[in-house]
Amino acid sequence: MSHEPDEQPLPPADEARVRRLLADARETGPMPPDVVARLERTLADLATERADGPDAATPEQERGQVLPLASRTRRVRAAALLAGAAAVVVMGVGFGQLVESGDGQDAGGSAADGSVDRGDEAELAEPEAAAAAEDQSPAKAPGEDAGPGDALGSETVTTEEPPRTVRTRRLQADLTALQHAIVPGPARADYTGTTITQPEDFPCPPASWGTGVIVAVLYDEMPAMVAFRQPTGDSQVAEVLQCGTGDVLRSTTLPTSG
């Protein structure tokens, strides 16, 4: 086995010299005007996109306020799953277990017992109960954990297909393949709500995924979600989101053509 250069610790004097060279090579100038202009155009496009039509709903969703359920048929599993979601119990428990609603638990908080009797599911699934849970969820500001009401108003579609694989080392390729499979026409898809596609019993605690097309994946063999966002121009942001928190693990931009 060959010794890589980085396996040999540097003497302090040499390390200090390297750090000095690095510090001297720091970029100290401002962002070039052409880059500033480019990013300001991007910001303007994003702001316009948000202000128009379907994006008017985005700020409310991001505040945690719940949008009224659409009249179209939707699974109530999402509402039941999200009400009072607690600490993750993944292996051997299954996705069907629910947490009691109305007990004020945050999605990101821990609980002594993360499961409830399945008999509570019917009660949680009732629209009246779901609405009550919505009312109990305060508006969330940045810095607060996503509450159970954040994803109410989303639609979950169960698929019999196993979750697709997304790998760090092949992120762009895997997300491109996923886009072609899940969102074959990115420019024409509906991003007004939160549409989640996942296998039954997929072990991924819910979180505030945001609007877009959300699909369950195995990211480096761990459950995660990929979100395809509303395209901007001829590109679309795809994000790998962490289960339970919705934190962006990875993000990339994909073309919407081809």
Partner: protein, 247 residues
């Protein structure tokens, strides 16, 4: 056509509005808040993106990706770290994603002479403070920087990102760990390994270095003026790093 100069922020947003307030306003639907927030930190974000990507065009692409991601995902900000930390995390991740996607690896040998056509050479090696140096010293310094930047691009992206944040931008290890979403020990390891690689790649420069021996902590006895307002060297565990504001 010359690019338009930056636009001043609206009068209703005072300079005393905090980053968190601006981000919250953005999530609430304010159309200007995010732009103001980004403008506050864009120079440092640009510096990080540029040194991480090694090329101005790629840095602009990575920064744009990060900007879009941050704009859309502002609602996920948890408040457990500074807004700037969160912004840096999003931008650095976007840059690293681009690097991995493009499988960019710099394999060019270190230049014996300065080549203006190379990426990461004169365009990014020049420094605003060079104008105070005499021409000979200016040339030597630019050449040295160019070699450092070329060598930096030889590092694996994870090591490069850690070194850019710690050794170039002066962030503390704890904050860099939050930015890179890894353990502090991982940051230290990446920096240590990266520096060791650079020591090999930059051996001629190290041999020419005539500065005095470092102090007991391994910090250089003195550093060149790079315009930083923060101390350099290993982070002080008791110090909470505050990114300097640019004029």
């Amino acid at each position: 056509m010359a690019p338009e100069p930056p636009v001043d922020p609206p009068a209703e947003w005072g300079a005393d509005a905090s980053d968190a307030e601006l981000l919250s306003a953005h999530v609430a639907g304010d159309p200007d808040a995010f732009g103001i927030l980004f403008a506050r930190h864009r120079d440092r974000l640009w510096a990080v993106a540029l040194r991480t990507m090694g090329d101005p065009e790629a840095a602009a692409d990575g920064l744009q990706d990060g900007l879009i991601a941050a704009f859309r995902r502002a609602g996920t900000y948890r408040g457990d770290a500074a807004v700037t930390t969160w912004l840096h995390r999003v931008v650095v991740n976007a840059c690293l994603d681009r690097i991995r996607a493009a499988k960019v690896r710099r394999t060019d040998p270190l230049p014996d002479e300065l080549d203006e056509g190379d990426r990461g050479s004169l365009h990014t090696a020049a420094d605003a403070h060079d104008e105070t140096l005499d021409p000979a010293e200016h040339g030597l310094r630019s050449e040295r920087r160019a070699q450092v930047l070329v060598a930096l691009q030889q590092l694996p992206e994870e090591q490069r990102a850690a070194i850019v944040l710690v050794d170039m931008e002066g962030y503390g290890v704890a904050e860099v760990a939050r930015i890179l979403d890894c353990a502090e020990g991982t940051v230290k390891s990446r920096c240590s390994r990266g520096r060791a690689r650079l020591a090999v790649l930059l051996a001629p420069l190290l041999d020419d270095d005539e500065d005095p021996a470092p102090d007991a902590d391994g910090n250089p006895a003195r550093t060149g003026d790079v315009g930083s307002v923060r101390r350099r060297g290993p982070p002080d565990p008791s110090e909470v790093p505050v990114p300097p504001s640019r004029p």
